[in-house]
Point group: C2
Chain length 224, copies 2
DNA sequence: CGTCCAGTTGACTCACCTCAAACGTGGTGG
DNA sequence: CCACCACGTTTGAGGTGAGTCAACTGGACG
């Protein structure tokens, strides 16, 4: 649960901050040599309410952004994998908490402070990422509002199946609790639903953190 | 159910399109004289899957953006009121449908086509609106995933109470069905919950489309 | 070999949904 | 002016999908 800075702890922030409130995220090719932060599993990257001084890009590992309610309920907003950008905020404060689902490496980009009017401007790259996150959030809302447990789980699996299309087996980085808090379900319901899908020969569960999709068509049929 | 163009049907699109994929939304002062489109209640403004050639700003009235599932289920993504911008898309196609909740006036801004790489750039104003919509979508996801019926309704009322703070009475533009599809509930549950809140002296329902908040504190207590 | 913890499974409960009937209001036509 | 209808809303009764609580399982690790 400790945060470690990579060897060169000078983030690419300073050299990149221009006259715009947001600096440009560098392109993927440049990122390879860039100094990155390391976070161990379950480490907090930033907390709700903190000053939003930077945004981040995932190099490796998985990050979750989530909100906690006072009674302990948690809603996971999104999982972020390599290449995803997270931590872009509308206001000066963090509206969500970000945590490392697995050990991960992350690049930080400095965000310049808002001016008095609170206006912002963005680079092409950054706006593209923002748009993608926006669309994901909308998609997620539909999922949470109008879908049954099976439909939710199927949609979740499809999302990860796309990523691991080559292997055909999904290697989950997160626990059942994470999945539940992402889908608005309890661990028990997630577990039961996965078991049911296995009984129906839609998926196979070789191990707890591995899911093999046997019938992609059946899975897809749950959406729409 | 017919679409009518205001007198001067030349939208401010053309004169404003520069070299950027997105044109700038004009400021509020300029909008006053701008030619606007009129839509009657329940008119479709655009449909899911259509080409996303413009984005819009609401001048008056209320607009809903929503998604339909093949079995008829509907999830309302957001309600947009005067000053709100909607219809900003990540891809070339509409991911949602937009409809007029009440008769309304809307200004359209042309969006230039994506270049081959699919990159976009945005003006300060537009990015600010995008950020606001993004934050709203995140908030909405938490609402849908982890809140009970009363909490959902309370949050909904608070959102509109802020707008009509001066009068103290909320004038609803939408039906119970709209509210239900926004909150991920049925009409019956929305109705029952409102009745219960009235019995508990938290609100008053002088008429079907009017809600008077009697105990703002109690309403706020349902959040967090 | 025992401990620990994530995951699974079962029995029961409950919040919300479904179905159905009654109500109220606004519009239309006699 | 009133009778009637249409439609959105309210209310009631009963059903059910997912939550709760609790016991059990099975790897991982010492």
């Amino acid at each position: 649960m400790t945060v470690q800075l990579a060897i060169s702890s000078v983030a690419p922030d300073v050299s990149r901050s221009g006259s715009l409130p947001w600096t440009e995220p560098v392109c993927d090719a440049e990122d390879i040599g860039a100094p990155s932060l390391r976070f161990e599993q379950d480490c907090e990257i930033y907390g709700e309410g903190e000053e939003a001084a930077s945004y981040y890009k995932v190099v490796s590992g998985v990050v979750r952004t989530c909100r906690f309610m006072s009674d302990g309920r948690r809603q996971i907003d999104a999982f972020h994998v390599a290449g995803d950008v997270f931590g872009i905020e509308a206001g000066p404060q963090r509206s969500l908490t970000a945590e490392a689902v697995s050990d991960c490496r992350i690049i930080s980009y400095r965000r310049l402070p808002f001016d008095k009017a609170g206006t912002v401007s963005g680079s092409q790259q950054l706006v593209t990422h923002l748009l993608r996150n926006f669309e994901r959030a909308q998609e997620h809302a539909v999922l949470l509002g109008r879908r049954s447990a099976v439909e939710k789980v199927a949609a979740f699996l499809l999302g990860w199946a796309r990523q691991s299309a080559c292997t055909g087996t999904i290697a989950l980085a997160m626990t059942r609790l994470d999945i539940g808090d992402y889908l608005g379900l309890t661990i028990e319901t997630v577990s039961r639903t996965l078991s049911q899908l296995e009984r129906d020969e839609v998926i196979e569960l070789p191990s707890v953190r591995q899911i093999r999709v046997k019938d992609l068509g059946a899975l897809t049929a749950f959406n729409l």
